[in-house]
Symmetry: C2
Amino acid sequence: MTVAGVGLVGGSLAGAVRSARLAGEVVGFGRSAANLRVARERGLVDRATQDPAEAVADADAIVLAVPVGTCPALAERFRAHARAGTILTDVGSVKAGLVRALEARWSGVGPVVGAHPIAGSESTGAGAARAELFQGRRCILTPIPGTDPTALARVRALWEGVGARVEEMPPAVHDELLARASHLPHVVACALAAAVDGTQVDGRVVLDYAGSGFRDTTRIAGSPAELWRDIALANAPALVAALREFRAALDRLEGAIASDDAPALEAALTLAQAVRRRLGRTE
Amino acid sequence: MTVAGVGLVGGSLAGAVRSARLAGEVVGFGRSAANLRVARERGLVDRATQDPAEAVADADAIVLAVPVGTCPALAERFRAHARAGTILTDVGSVKAGLVRALEARWSGVGPVVGAHPIAGSESTGAGAARAELFQGRRCILTPIPGTDPTALARVRALWEGVGARVEEMPPAVHDELLARASHLPHVVACALAAAVDGTQVDGRVVLDYAGSGFRDTTRIAGSPAELWRDIALANAPALVAALREFRAALDRLEGAIASDDAPALEAALTLAQAVRRRLGRTE
């Protein structure tokens, strides 16, 4: 198995596959020699290479674990070097456009199976990878009509083998769900961080007064900009719809605040509290 | 010293004052007998009472650690029973209106000193209190012209004694700062949680797909609604201004997403990332 992009998600998957002995050999491919060295030193991969031919020549399966916008071009680079029948899968946070693009790039080579493990953090790189990252987490597979059932079963076995709870849904359903559960909070957290950039009151810097609330709420804004640029643009229509729903909720809260409507505000805050408490306090 | 409201903040302060022997006796006052029992059992207070006269008759200082909207009425209840010269202070998250209201209620009794320790979480009650809560955290004192300097020094010594970094600023400056650093993220987190309430896609519940990003971003929405209703309404003008700044930042991000402007989106996300990273990863 070849993992292209040995960062937090790719590195964790590689390490978990090695730990569980789910593949004969795990090969890491990436741009950064330093990161690949970390992956090797941490035992996440059996070997590492920056050469696409070396990376995929013997692979039964290739997992693309690079930013969503980079996946199609990388599939294109691997295409000439892969054996017939090699499964191409990915871990991207947006599926409809990506699965279409990968199907086009991989046609005539082997089967494509879209996948998205819902796990991650604002940490990056092989140094942050950990084999238990997917334990108990959801992994969504997004087959389309025509997806090879054997390849789908093998990708399912891979994710189940590293502890994930696997389910299947159409790519477009995935994208509508994740627009609201993941991409929306990301954009909102970034807006919150950006809103206070450089803001001062009477010579005091607002950011210096940020407590745990501000820290929690903006934590994911620290994630790599390049990664989230790709995700947001690839899921733009669903994300814009989700932002509309968010703005409606914000309007209700702001309306109650601006009109000093204590019962309406308490009702809106109580609703939010109930939703949040349904999630529980921990992971 | 009497602490009225032995919840997370009041209970932690009471416990810290006892640990550091900063007061001869720490008395807990509250509405809930069950919570007062927890406070006593956990050693946060020397004694506890639900009777206002018993609570404040011998107090040199009274700390109001109840929701902001409840403080003035509670000061009114204590007024008849307090000795001349008893310092009245608080821990409220909004200061201008509150300090004014307390000055009015306490006039002729003793000095008033507004205070706000920037510490807390979505946990509540004496069971969540911990003596080290204020260690290294900021505590803002908000004297006004005419605030008694001796009382101010004693309240400063109290907060420094429990490990806080104390600074002073006018109440209005505090409120403008905290509107952005605390009240804004709270309202935004609540809007985010409320926005997905009951939302389904193709029969699947959005909330079931929430990962760590959604959890972090909405964590503070789990805080008590009554508490935040008071805070938001007491600081409405500054909060509405902060919401305007947030919406401007959100508009920039959404504009770049809707118009597929990758460089503008990456620039906006990179700015947010830089702001967030200035805060660091941990408390």
